[in-house]
């Protein structure tokens, strides 16, 4: 199991809102910057059927049972994901960084 599936599962994007999931390059950055530094990451233990469950709480619980520190992974990934202009601008209408808009 690759980390990509994990990220796409929790943060899938929304076509209606024109919000993408993690881009490939960002996933690489996540892996390089954050995930490899996390302890207890043993993704090879997860099988594909695992993610067919849409009860996120249950999935998180099961990941934890497999000794995967999913809270740390998500905590860092969320910060990274919500810094991306492609994600933030459709949601907020604001450019990132905040140079050009947002006059009150």
């Amino acid at each position: 199991m690759r980390i990509e599936f994990l990220l796409d599962y929790f943060l899938p994007g929304d076509e209606d809102l024109k919000i993408p999931c993690f881009s490939k390059s960002d996933k690489t950055k996540i892996i390089e910057k954050f995930i490899t530094t996390l302890p207890n990451l043993n993704l090879s233990k997860i099988d594909d059927n695992f993610f067919k469950n849409t009860d996120f709480k249950k999935v998180k619980k099961n990941l934890k049972k497999k000794n995967i520190d999913i809270d740390s992974i998500l905590g860092l990934s969320l910060k990274f994901y919500f810094s991306r202009s492609l994600v933030v601008k459709p949601l907020t209408g604001r450019d990132i960084p905040y140079f050009k808009n947002s006059i009150i």
Partner: protein, 528 residues
């Protein structure tokens, strides 16, 4: 150039001192331990600005290790020391909320029977407030009843925005005092080197456009064109003495080169943590220390502004994230109490704007209420722009047990001891904070907040620091005299918030700068 005078620290106190001295023809050597950050290096210039604010630009001193930083152990304090060592000092990361102290802040013993009165009179400070406000192009609105002497403004006030208008209606319904913020922000038109504010939001992560006045883009910028020479990335190890006279400073730069610079006049302006640290490190020899100091007060009476916090959640999007973070409105309704309360003095309510995207999602994550999958975007939108915060800035009182001491087990990269902070909230502060949080929640509810929460003290809020180099006439009960000159020592002056006798309950940057100008003007008269 042999300096006529050395100024240590380029923040709120040191930069105005250096500028004024150079205006009067003195050759000034301005020494700054930190580096000079370009606008492009500030977090707000990057897409991941909220992440960057957690690293090199973290305002919590203990969590950084930049050039110019020194170890600060604040594990014995509920409030972390928050300052910034760089050209421009903490003004690089401050909110630019820029009120004056109030007249009675300087007379709390006479008026309230607690703490100490200042040796400096409010009327003496007024011309220097005016000088400072002109320099930074103060934004605001004339007419607040708490500031009857303030009659010159250089920029219109920062707009309240949707959130500010909603909150101001709440204050009106409560019949409580409120006023739009006084701000060190250029809201009108582009100035020299300072663009008009675009209301980007996160001033506390640095202002990339220069709309926010820092001491770097005002006093230092002008001073460098005159007779100020800036020596950055240079730490002062100690003040050099010959008997009871200052003869210079010993410095070490980031390349570990140690040097002595000789000069008979030195101004300490490294802030209420940095200045006493330099003084204490200069007098490690007890005999030498006892020769000069008749009191044992250096580092003691540390005052901070303990912060309480209340926030309200509004069902509709009130765009609270738009606008300068710490500049919306304030209330001095509870500056002094009109009803029966069990505490002395008072607090300011300071409204602050909502979180950026990362902090919005992080808040949900930490509260364990986050919903993953496609729902996360809807949940984000239900929170982003929906919160207004009110901080309760409590006026503190001097206490000998609240202090900093040298930490010999924790030296900086040059082997100079760091500092250890000992600080406890007083019962007075606890009562004041609890009362303030309750009141803030009331006004948030009155403004239409669907739900409110409150807590305090907030750990990472030790921005406002005072009192650690006591000013007084009696050398046995103080360290410096009314000129800021160290008792019994020729040529050494302190002009920063270390000498403040009280803390007020409002943001201190305007007053630190005005006091520095006032004392420097006195020093100039003496040196002439």
């Amino acid at each position: 150039m042999k300096p006529d005078i050395i100024v240590i620290g380029s923040g709120a106190a040191g930069a105005p001192a250096a500028w004024l001295l150079s205006e009067k023809g003195f050759n000034v050597l301005l020494i700054e331990a930190g580096e000079d950050f370009e606008s492009s290096e500030l977090p707000t210039s990057s897409i991941d600005w909220e992440l960057k604010s957690e690293g090199q630009f973290n305002y919590v001193a203990a969590e950084r290790n930049n050039i110019g930083d020194y170890p600060v152990d604040d594990s014995k304090s509920p409030i972390a020391v928050c300052n910034f060592n760089a050209v421009g000092g903490s003004s690089i990361l401050y909110s630019a909320h820029f009120p004056r102290f109030l007249r009675s802040d300087l007379e709390i013993f006479s008026k309230e029977g607690v703490g100490n009165d200042w040796l400096i009179k409010y009327d003496e400070l007024l011309p220097f407030y005016e000088m400072n406000e002109k320099m930074i192009s103060l934004a605001g609105k004339i007419g607040d009843k708490f500031y009857p002497e303030l009659n010159k403004i250089y920029n219109p006030e920062v707009k309240l925005g949707v959130a500010g208008k909603i909150l101001s209606e709440g204050f009106k319904k409560m019949n409580w005092h409120w006023w739009p913020s006084y701000s060190a922000i250029n809201t009108n038109m582009d100035l020299e080197g300072r663009l008009k504010c675009h209301s980007l939001g996160p001033c506390n992560s640095g202002c990339p456009t220069g709309a926010k006045a820092t001491t770097k883009n005002t006093y230092i910028s002008y001073g460098l064109k005159k007779k100020v020479k800036l020596l950055k990335k240079t730490t002062v190890k100690k003040i050099l003495l010959n008997n009871k006279k200052v003869i210079g400073v010993e410095i070490v730069n980031h390349k570990l080169k140690i040097e002595k610079i000789f000069c008979n006049n030195v101004i300490l302006a490294a802030g209420a943590i940095g200045s006493p640290r330099i003084l204490l490190n200069s007098f490690l020899d007890i005999q030498k220390k006892n020769l000069i100091f008749k009191s044992d007060l250096i580092g003691k009476n540390l005052m901070m502004h303990p912060y309480g916090y209340a926030e309200g959640y509004f069902a509709e999007n009130i765009h609270s994230e738009n606008g300068p973070q710490g500049n919306m409105l304030y209330s001095l309704e509870f500056y002094r109490q009109s009803e029966n309360v069990d505490f002395k003095l008072g607090f300011m309510m300071h409204a602050i704007r909502g979180d950026g995207p990362i902090n919005t999602i992080n808040r949900l994550f930490k509260s364990k209420k986050i919903i993953y999958g496609k729902e996360i975007y809807k949940q984000f939108l239900k929170n982003y722009g929906h919160y207004i915060g009110i901080t309760i800035i409590c006026e503190d009182l001097p206490n000998l047990n609240n202090k900093l001491v040298l930490d010999f087990n924790n030296p900086d990269k040059f082997g100079i001891p760091g500092v250890k902070i000992f600080y406890k909230l007083s019962d007075n502060t606890k009562k004041m904070m609890s009362y303030g949080i309750t009141k803030a929640r009331e006004v948030l509810k009155m403004s239409g907040a669907q739900k409110t929460t409150g807590f305090g003290p907030i750990k990472n809020t030790g921005w406002h620091l005072y009192g650690t180099i006591c000013m007084g006439n009696d050398p046995e009960k103080s360290v410096v005299n009314s000129l800021g000159k160290v008792h019994n020592l020729e040529g050494l002056y302190v002009v920063d918030s270390s000498i403040f006798a009280s803390s007020s309950c409002v943001n201190p940057a305007n007053t630190i700068q005005a006091v520095s100008l006032y004392l420097t003007n006195k020093i100039i008269e003496k040196l002439k």
